[in-house]
Amino acid sequence: MKTTGAIDTAKRQLVYEVISGGTGLILALFMWGHMMFVGSILIGTFGFDWLALQLEIYFIAQPTVVVIFSLFLVHAALAARKIPAQLEERRKMIRLGRDLKSQAHEESLLWIWQVRTGMIVLVLGSFHLVLLGIDVLTPLFGERVGIESVTSLARVQAGLWLPYAVLLICVEFHASIGLYRLAVKWGVFSSLGRKTLRRIESFILWLFLGLGAVILLVLAGVIPPPLAFLATGGAA
């Protein structure tokens, strides 16, 4: 007992756990804010461009892209340490999850889907973050350095609506079930009970999925901005 090496290992494991959970929490909260920012397109391109410009001239967008991308990679690396390395081990877990799902226990299979969606988010999210990093930090796309509605709408309408739709579903699922699991793991809000926590999780999931779907439809040009009447100073 109490060997220096073992204590160091114990500290390292605690740090890994806290960082993987903490980065997950920050990223999930960021996604709520992100939805609000992108949601400015519901007012119209004027709202979207105005907000993007404010975030850029006050140097909020630039460090945010770098910090979020860093947290994103750290979260992926640390959360992935829990995924079994061998294919046969993963198959065993999937079989167990499916069997238990058929017996009214969902969380085991939901963990497996959290891993699957996490993998998709890692690929599509990296693509999205690199694209936005180029927008925010370079003049490569559009007419100026920064996020512009013209470029964003053109991209989505050219076909990026599909990977963004997949990314939306995966992010919202991964984040909502991740928050629920994090709360249960550390006993936060345990007085509410698991049933209530699951209901809150489902509410958050469907709320942001719905909001995200409307935003994506506006970006894809399928529906007009539903809150355009709020824009009094510019064209919708």
Partner: protein, 245 residues
């Protein structure tokens, strides 16, 4: 829900394999019996053994969810055979032995090896600095602590939680739900003189509470309804507060 719908013809698919017999190969064997009122799996398996196949191996002792011998996979869910009513199950009942544990034969597993290893790894006993004096009066314990320890001690070591745990199924090193419960039980006990560093080393470990990935099946299937999720949250917070001290 359990009750008296005894008109069904139950179909059993039971895993058969005898590791002691070199000619035996793992396979499923089908049996059919008539359902009886208030029939438990214990009754059903005994009927199969008496009327169909005397070589069928399975474990039972107390028949009242106390001994923890009759854990088995019932349609994919770890359950105690003695307290599972056939009326709660569909007509087709698929039985497998609990995974993770050493197979004795058919539905019988040796949970003792796993639990002994777990108890040794987690040092699941009172660590006292002074020699036990049987003549001395015992130290008093407050009711709340005694109740918490009793809650953890209700574990009958049936192995259902271990069988339902994704991590325990793929990692032999993980303490497992029952192991973490034992750690919590002794860490709460004022008679145990292990200090914060001892507990931190034991708990804050990839084979300890941070090996848990939060699938929560252990809590949901525990036949004794132990508050396992609360136990893990307690251990996580204990590790964190110890490190911050």
């Amino acid at each position: 829900m359990s009750g008296n719908n005894a008109n069904r013809r139950l179909k059993f698919e039971i895993f058969r394999y005898n590791p002691q017999d070199p000619d035996s190969t793992p396979h499923m064997q089908n049996f059919e019996i008539d359902e009886l009122p208030y029939m438990s799996l214990f009754m059903a398996l005994n009927e199969i053994r008496e009327k169909h196949d005397p070589s069928l191996q399975f474990d039972f002792a107390c028949r009242s969810a106390i001994c923890g011998s009759c854990g088995m996979m019932v349609n994919g869910k770890p359950s105690l055979g003695c307290r599972t009513q056939t009326s709660d199950l569909p007509e087709l009942i698929r039985l497998h032995p609990l995974p993770v544990f050493k197979l004795v034969g058919d539905l019988s597993v040796d949970t003792g090896i796993w639990f002994r290893e777990m108890a040794e790894k987690s040092e699941a006993w009172i660590h006292a600095k002074e020699a036990f004096d049987p003549a001395a009066q015992e130290d008093r314990m407050d009711d709340e602590t005694a109740q918490k320890i009793y809650d953890s001690d209700r574990c009958i070591e049936c192995g259902c939680c271990v069988a339902s745990c994704g991590v325990a199924n793929v990692s032999g090193e993980f303490a497992g739900p029952a192991g973490l419960n034992r750690m919590a039980r002794f860490s709460m006990d004022p008679r145990d003189t292990r200090d914060d560093a001892d507990w931190f080393e034991l708990i804050s470990n990839e084979h300890g509470v941070f090996g848990c990935i939060g699938m929560m099946a252990c809590h949901d299937i525990c036949p004794k309804e132990l508050p396992l999720l609360e136990v893990y949250a307690y251990l996580r917070r204990k590790a964190l507060t110890t490190a911050l001290k």
